[in-house]
């Protein structure tokens, strides 16, 4: 199994929740997350189950005009 995080393929030992995946990835705060191109509010991480091939986007603040 695998999951695609910010465009990079990573192994995924077993199906798990987004919350569990984020614990293992431990992205630096602050961040926001999309699962299969849908925004996931922070309070819903436990409810989202990640399957093989799913796409996760983690975004951070950056400069903008």
């Amino acid at each position: 199994m695998f999951v695609i995080v910010n465009g990079e393929t990573r192994p995924l030992p077993e199906p798990q929740t987004l919350a569990f995946l984020l614990i293992s990835l431990s992205p630096q705060a602050p961040f926001a997350v999309a699962h299969n191109e849908e925004f996931v509010a922070r309070g819903n991480y436990e409810l989202h189950h990640i399957s093989s091939g799913d796409r996760i986007d983690i975004v951070h603040p950056t400069a903008g005009g």
Binding site: N6, G7, E8, P27, Q28, A29, P30, F31, A32, V33, A34, E37, E38, F39, A41, R42, D57, I58, V59, H60, P61, T62, A63, G64, G65
Partner: protein, 276 residues
């Protein structure tokens, strides 16, 4: 603060600002230059964005985020780069959680060469975002029908371009911008994109625009900090001139010094035959 100063503030979605300059945070040489430029510009808001962490980078935006927080300025996230309403709405939702604000600078780009806004996608995205509780500041053109549609769906601020993003050309369509100001006298209008010089910013403020959003004109100047200060002065001067009310342009010369009592004056109204 005096009552006159309070009444003369920029009001955006019931938030009051003494500054009429909105400053972008991109394309500065270093965080310290950005920080100094912010101090010199004294902006009402800082525009920001959100992106994936660059591979191999140890800092996922924390230092930038800390710099922003220390300025204590209002943060205005954007949806830069979005090509569809769907992308823009999702990006806005992520920005709201990331930056803890309902404010969103809405960009839906219709052409990747000119970066011209997609008017159809813009109205659709604005409509949905307003329904989701966002306070939308749409980056738009000066087209009156587009602006009217954006107001119809609940936008309380409009941000027409002066020229394409990053060009520094100054107002390309002065007549249409001035007509927009006349047709929409009560909604805050902030000129966004295409400003290159303080004189451009002063000019649109003299026309009665409520503010100016700048990025490249400051960040890519030889001395961004000095240029930030120059823009701040120009925007204040232009706004003061608008409030003061400029004189009416005359077709012919009008002497400013009184004619009455001028020595050596010849009275040409007296007929020559009786001049003796």
């Amino acid at each position: 603060m005096s009552e006159r100063q309070i009444n003369d503030q920029l009001v955006i979605y019931r938030r009051r600002f003494s500054s009429r300059l909105l400053l972008g945070t991109a394309r500065y040489e270093s965080p310290s230059v950005l920080d100094d430029a912010i101090r010199a510009a004294d902006p009402a808001m800082l525009t920001v964005s959100l992106r994936r962490q660059v591979a191999g980078s140890a800092d996922a935006g924390q230092s930038f985020w800390n710099l922003l927080r220390e300025t204590q300025r209002t943060i205005l996230p954007n949806t830069a780069g979005c090509l569809t309403p769907d992308e823009a709405i999702k990006t806005a939702c992520m920005a709201r959680e990331l930056f803890q604000t309902d404010l969103i600078k809405l960009e839906v780009i219709g052409d990747e060469v000119s970066l011209q806004p997609d008017p159809f996608g813009l109205v659709e995205a604005a409509n949905q975002l307003v329904r989701l509780g966002f306070q939308v500041l749409p980056y738009c053109t000066e087209d009156w029908i587009l602006c009217r549609r954006l107001m119809d769906v609940g936008c309380e601020v409009l941000m027409p371009w002066a020229a394409p993003i990053g060009t520094g050309q100054g107002p390309r369509n002065a007549r249409a911008l001035r007509e927009l100001r006349e047709r929409a006298p009560n909604i805050p209008l902030i000129v966004d994109a295409g400003i290159g010089l303080p004189s451009h910013a002063c000019q649109v403020m003299e026309w009665g625009f409520d503010g100016v959003l700048l990025n490249t004109a400051v960040s890519r100047a030889d001395d961004p900090v000095r240029m930030a200060g120059a823009f701040a002065s120009a925007i204040k001067a232009g706004h003061s001139a608008f409030v003061a009310g400029p004189m009416v342009v005359q077709e012919t010369a009008v002497p400013s010094t009184p004619e009455i009592g001028r020595p050596f004056a010849t009275d040409y109204s007296t007929p020559l035959a009786t001049a003796n």
